[in-house]
Structures are given as C-alpha cells and as structure tokens.
C-alpha cells in the first residue's frame, strides 16, 4: 500500500468516524424526524409535542441572546478602542 492510498484510506476512516460522531451527537434530535410507526412524540397524548415547542422557544431565545450579546461585545470593543 503506497503512502497516498494509505492517506486516502485514513481520511475515509476519519470522515466515517466524524460522521458517526455527528450522527450520535444529533441523536437526541432525531426523534423530531420520527414517522408514524416509531413514535415517541405522539405517545402520552402527544405531550412531547408541547415539550418540543417549549424547547424550540427556549432555543430561539438563547440564539437571540447570543446575537444580542455579540452585538454588545462589538460595541464594547469600539468603546475600548475609542478611549
């Protein structure tokens, strides 16, 4: 096996590993894609749909906070440079 091939194989492995890690880290959200048969969200009278909506609101607020935070940080930097 020459070096180039080996590198390619290694890279393939690395990609595979990364994608598995990604898939695993995304796993908690995969229930969002669930269809009728394997249904977690529809269990308990669809209670988890309410939970998902509340989670979406919370995530939305967090993203908005991060956006505002970054705007403020930029402003603070400007003030610091100004002085």
């Amino acid at each position: 096996m020459d070096r180039k091939q080996f590198n390619g194989l290694n890279m393939l492995k690395a990609t595979k590993k990364a994608s598995t890690t990604l898939a695993l880290s995304l796993f908690p959200f995969s229930f969002l894609l669930a269809q009728e048969d394997t249904d977690f969200l529809r269990s308990m009278g669809k209670m988890y749909v309410v939970v998902a909506v509340l989670a979406a609101i919370f995530i939305g607020i967090v993203i908005y906070l991060v956006y505002l935070d970054r705007k403020l940080t930029k402003l603070e930097d400007q003030i610091k440079n100004h002085e």
């Binding site: 749909v49 979406a56 505002l68």
Partner: protein, 349 residues
C-alpha cells in the same frame, strides 16, 4: 420599582408555564372499535378513554349512540374493564329511519365522575337495505338528559389535538405579541416622521427586530405543532404563508436599513417603508385568511378547533399569555434600544 413590567412579564410567563402544563385535560374518548357496524346487530364496542375514571361510580355510567340532535340509541349493557376501558353493547335496529346506506354516529358517554365525553363521527353504521318506514317503527329513542359536567379545573379534550391543546399558550400568543409589537414599531415610525426625533426611529427599529424574532418563533413552533396534528411541517396553510410573507417584508426592512450610510436618511426612508409595508400587510393578515380555507381556527371547513374550545378555563391562561409574551418582547426591545443609543453616543463623540 421602575422595571415592574419586566417582573410582571416573567411572573405571567411562569404562571402560563405552570398552569398551562399542570392542568389536566378533560375526559375524552380515544377510540371505539369496531368502528364499522351493521344494522340488526347487537354491537359490542370496546371503548378506550383518555383521563377517564370509569370504575368510579360505574353503576351510574350511561352511554348513547347519537344519530342526530334528537335521536339516539342507549347502551343496554355497560361492562367496565378498568379506568381506561369499557365495553358497551348497543342493540342496532334492523332498519334505520334514514335513507342513507351509511350513517355516521356519535358516541356519547356520561359519568358523574368525569362528565360527558364525546367521540364525534367516529362510528358508521351500514344499512343492508333501506326502509325508512320500518326504521321509524323499529326505532326506540333514548332520551339524552341530565348530562354531568366535570367539576374541576381542566382544559378541553379534542381528538387529534390531545395534550397539544396546551400549545395554544405557547404558539398562538407569539403571533399576537408579534402583531402588537410590530404595530408599536409602526407607531414609532409615524412619530419619527412627525417629530423627527432620532430616538423614535431607534425604538421602531428595536421593536421591529423583536417582532421579526417573535414571528420566527411563531413559525417554528407552529411548524412543530402542525407536523403532529396536520401531518406536515408546512401544510400550505394560509396563516403559515401569511406569516412567512410578513417575515419577508420585515426582512426587507432590515436589508433597506443596511443599505444606507447617512443615519438621518436611513431613519427617514426606513420609516416610510415600514408604514407602507405594514399597511399592505394588514389586509393580508386579517382579510385573506377569512376568504380562503384554513386549517387554523376561525376559517371554513375546520372542525378541529371550534369556538367552544377556547373555553373560559383556556381564556384564563391564554389572555395573560399574550400580555406575558408581549412584555418579554418589550424587554428585549428595550435592550436593543439601549444598545443602539450607546452606539449613537459613541458615534457622536
């Protein structure tokens, strides 16, 4: 307390989270099987209840198959299996007093403990041959009277919706808060053109920013809810489309703001656009959904969510929810406004 309204907003959100999540649903009927019955049959239905307590006072349990507003068949036998399951036996006559080959019936169960619960249109009876005169003769009408009502703080039970009826407090008010806040933004845009005070434009910008955010939240939460009640994230529903257009318009507002250097010009022209866009949006949000069929409540062909659904119990949570989300939105808008003021002061120095 200068910032009492922020505390009020937080308290209201806490209240709607607690009451909205902890209040149980009313008793309902999940399903009844078999769903297809025939005339001349002694039909035994296995009925599954939701939040039901069939074993409590089970002698007083009553059940009917309702054909229309005046005619019904009473159950002759009621066997309670457990709290969530009951077997009902109905004698279905050999002929029905209607000339339809297939007639749908509504199942109604009344219990002193749980109140009356309904499975609307869940059952059909097939007639082998139609003879309305014989049907009239054979019909033994049962009187539906003295229905009980559950004496507890509960939310209504709806098939398809089930527990997601609670999303009324977390999704619908987003949309109303968006509308209130965008309206406030337009008011400040008008005031800016009137008085030429640059602070008014900053207020309009901050409010519109928050309105856009609430709109996005409304669309995302609506999509999740839609997926598990109507089947798709995007159901080509009028109100979903309208909100998407509203977001496009306000996205354009911020694009417009970004394309000016001169702050006075930016403020003036974006105020003009804000007012014009808002005026073209209002007919969209209020009139067009009424013209077209919608899955949302208040439109034609929609049974999932009738007027009785927003009953007094729900109003107790829903109305504060609008105020609560609006106050939280105003709080965020205030933070954006203060940031913008600081930036302005920095530029002035």
């Amino acid at each position: 307390m200068k910032y009492w309204w922020k505390a009020l907003g937080v308290l209201i959100i806490l209240y709607i989270l607690l009451v909205g999540m902890l209040t149980p649903l009313k008793t309902g009927i999940l399903e009844a099987s078999p769903a297809n019955l025939h005339t001349g049959q002694e039909a035994t239905l296995t009925v599954k209840g939701y939040n039901s307590n069939f074993t409590l006072e089970k002698e007083k349990l009553r059940a009917w198959l309702k054909m229309d507003s005046t005619r019904a068949i009473a159950a002759t036998r009621i066997d309670v299996v457990d709290d969530r399951e009951v077997k009902l036996t109905f004698p279905i006559p050999a002929y029905l007093p209607v000339d339809q080959p297939v007639k749908d019936f509504t199942l109604l169960i009344d219990s002193p403990a749980d109140g009356a619960s309904v499975l609307p249109g869940g059952l059909v009876v097939t007639q082998d041959s139609i003879d309305t005169t014989k049907g009239d003769l054979l019909w033994v009408n049962a009187d539906i009277s003295q229905l009980h009502e559950k004496q507890a703080f509960t939310f209504p039970y709806r098939n398809i919706l089930y527990e997601t009826i609670r999303n009324t407090y977390y999704h619908v008010p987003m949309w109303m808060a968006m509308f209130i806040i965008l309206t406030a933004g337009v008011v400040f845009s008008i005031r800016f053109l009137w008085k030429a005070n640059p602070d008014d434009d900053r207020k309009a910008m901050a409010l519109t920013n928050v309105g856009l955010f609430l709109g996005i939240l409304g669309i995302v939460t609506g999509a999740i809810w839609a997926k598990y009640t109507w089947g798709k994230f995007w159901s080509w529903d009028v109100k979903q489309n309208m909100t998407a257009i509203a977001l496009l318009i306000y996205g354009a507002y911020f694009v417009l703001r970004g394309s000016f250097e001169d702050p006075e010009k930016k403020a003036r022209i974006s105020a003009v656009f804000n007012i014009f866009a808002y005026a073209s949006l209002v007919p969209l949000l209020y009139i067009i959904p009424k013209l077209t069929d919608s899955l949302h409540p208040g439109a034609g062909g929609n049974i999932a969510f009738g007027s009785q659904d927003l009953d007094n119990t729900m109003k107790l949570v829903f109305r504060p929810a609008i105020i609560g989300w609006t106050l939280i939105g105003l709080w965020i808008a205030e933070i954006i406004l203060r940031t913008a003021r600081l930036r302005e002061r920095l530029l002035e120095d």
